[in-house]
Symmetry: C2
Subunit: 421 residues, 2 copies
């Protein structure tokens, strides 16, 4: 029996644990050396597949592949490129077949979020539509936690832990200075469309008065009066007010608040930064001294404080993808299944790529308190298991000793190049 | 021999390890129960001492006091209040004597930065000037790392570690997305007057091409042309450019850059945030897609990633303060002494408070590369030992199990109140 190669690629915004999935894929493939020859990786996601920019992971040591489990970001590069439809962009698919064929690739693993699973689904149809036998399995990943079917999206648990830890620490800082200094602290977190990440900040508040006191969700249009009243009440009661705000919060008219506030010296709108807008609102109406932080990429890259549960799941999903491919499955994505019961237990299930692609799961309204400023017990029960456990990377010279792969290129075999639009 | 009480207080901006010093003070005092009766704590620094707002730490369990070692922020509250001169504000000093006398306080430990050591020095002169026998020892603390005599200031090593870890992680994130997404990332860190914290980011770059590629220091006026050239060269060479910027960077005319850029919709200047100004500069001149983060309090509260060296030193300084007081010393501050030799070893020395107060140590010019955008080997040799070692707090429910003290008040004994201006 001839052995074929597998192609693995990372897509969309990277996370603290996407490389843990890569680790799972490559380790499982190496264990199945009788069935899979090499794991190649596409540099920068599907773009590398189209441009025949491939990496030969067989040159990486077992130790370095194991190190991917504790290394954040995308070891092979990622991209935001989406495959067009077969009808309109047939050339792209023909090119993929050329590349697959030239490099003996029969397995394709695409690791990404909703948009990327759309691409994975399209690749999974190549066999049927173009006659080249390729097996495609999607591997879930997104800090946005908006993939359907799966209990949660790998990458999210670690952002959740980062945000909860950070707002707990910053809240304690502000509390100790509130008498003569800052009274209001605002942490801006990711979440353009859904408030999952902001909600995770709420896990830090375990007792009455704990930080954060207010959470602003993209799902709830900002009621300025109610918000200011709430801030004032907090400062009166607890001496300070700690706020987590999602970047995607909106005015009642549906416009993004981040776009409404700041302009530069030339009158141009300043992109990004809803925290300073909220800070200004508080300062002008209540007069409180404020500070704000914007975590940006720090939150999704923070492997140093990753959730062990998240790392374990990302790794397991990578392994499961290989097992599914070898079991002859196609056009599926392994998912996390939450078992029934009081304690959190999970197993691996699967979902059809056709139904995963381009679906965004919003936060249920019952996860947000009626007043719109906090999370409910149901939300806490859902979120809390996802941040359990620490999984510290090794350190060298006081810094995390993350792995840098060799990423040696595979020799190109095609005489033609391909321009990615 | 009658036993007297000690009074401990925290002052100025809090840190990830100021409570480790509190832990050292209280544990050492408990071991010397034959000489020190109780450790009282002033709520919110010197303000609590003046207003007779005292906490009885003898109600705290040994376990909770031990927990202060891994708990960030100020467990007893802090303040930014400074004592005026004895000549002009004699009443404040008379009030302190009243409070000390009413509560049998003969030892005063003041834990803070340069301004706070000025207050400590003034209190240390009460014995001579007003005849009440009080022994005052300062305990160093400041993330700004600007105290004289001591090798470094407790609190700084942990911020340094946070910044170096964060810019390493975020740099890896940006590197993996650079082909189709963000090309320039900017992390804004603390440092109004000195670039120590920004410099620490440089520790993350151990090999050619590592993040960060550019550091902007308050000591070096921004040369816009040279900066933009540097950013462009980085993007061409490494596909992206990672930047650490100190909040205190200035224009060549000496004005703060953070004050020059953004105005709100009403034309008012927006406070804080030099990162977006730099981002705009890059975007308008080079057209690169950018992201920026502003760490703010997260950096100084980040006990979850504290430097073990920093924690050990903060704790040792707290203990040393008690030993010095019991040895009959007054008006001194224990300091960290760096021993000669190739490996980092430190011991405790002492410095006179009179010479510590109100002195700000700047970064030596030879710690900054000639082009002004990086750190030298000498700087690396100085900084690297300060971030060595991890000292993780215990976790509960996926979150750091920081200690919350009871902070029971001491019954007031004075019939008069005191208004702090």
């Amino acid at each position: 029996m001839e052995k074929y190669n597998a192609l693995y690629a990372q897509s969309g915004g990277v996370t603290a644990v996407i490389n843990a999935s890569a680790c799972g894929v490559i380790q499982a493939a190496r264990e199945h050396g009788d069935k899979i020859n090499k794991v190649l990786a596409a540099r920068n996601g599907i773009v590398g597949a189209l441009t025949e920019d491939l990496i030969d992971t067989s040159f990486e040591s077992n130790a370095d592949i194991a190190g991917l489990r504790y290394t954040p970001a995308g070891a092979f590069g990622s991209c935001r490129h989406k495959l067009g439809s077969l009808e309109k962009h047939r050339k792209q698919y023909e090119r993929l077949v050329e590349v697959f064929e030239a490099h003996h690739i029969r397995y394709f693993f695409y690791n990404g979020g909703g948009d990327s699973q759309d691409t994975a689904y399209k690749v999974s149809q190549i066999s049927k539509e173009l006659g080249y036998p390729i097996t495609c399995i999607g591997i879930p990943k997104t800090v946005d936690n908006d993939l359907p079917f799966t209990d949660n999206s790998p990458g999210f648990g670690s952002v959740a832990k980062y945000v909860a830890v950070s707002i707990r620490e910053a809240g304690m800082d502000v509390a100790s200075m509130a008498l003569t200094s800052t009274k209001v602290f605002i942490l801006e977190v990711m979440g353009r469309h859904a408030g999952w990440i902001a909600a995770a900040g709420g896990l830090a508040a375990e007792q009455e008065g704990d930080s954060p006191h207010v959470i602003l969700f993209p799902e709830i249009p900002l009621n300025t009066q109610a918000f200011l009243q709430r801030v004032q009440a907090c400062v009166k009661k607890y001496d300070y007010c700690s706020i987590v705000v999602s970047e995607g919060i909106k005015n009642p008219d549906g416009t993004f608040i981040s776009e409404s506030g700041l302009v530069d010296a030339f009158g141009h709108k300043q992109l990004g930064g809803v925290a300073p807008v909220i800070a200004k609102l508080v300062k002008e109406n209540l007069g409180y001294k404020y500070h704000w932080a914007l975590a940006d990429y720090l939150q999704r890259a923070a492997r140093h404080i990753a959730s062990k549960t998240d790392v374990d799941q990302a790794y397991a999903l990578g392994r499961a993808a290989v097992e599914m491919a070898l079991a002859g499955k196609n056009a599926v994505m392994p998912i996390i299944v939450r078992e029934q019961g009081a304690t959190y237990q999970w197993s691996i299930g699967e979902a059809p790529l056709e139904k995963v692609a381009n679906v965004e799961v919003k936060m249920p309204r019952e996860y947000i308190t009626e007043d719109g400023f906090g999370i409910t017990e149901a939300c806490r029960r859902y979120l809390s298991p996802l941040i359990q456990g620490e999984d510290y990377p090794p350190y060298r010279n006081g810094l995390p000793a993350y792995v840098k792969l060799k990423n040696l290129p595979v020799e190109k075999k095609l005489s033609t190049t391909f321009e990615v639009a």
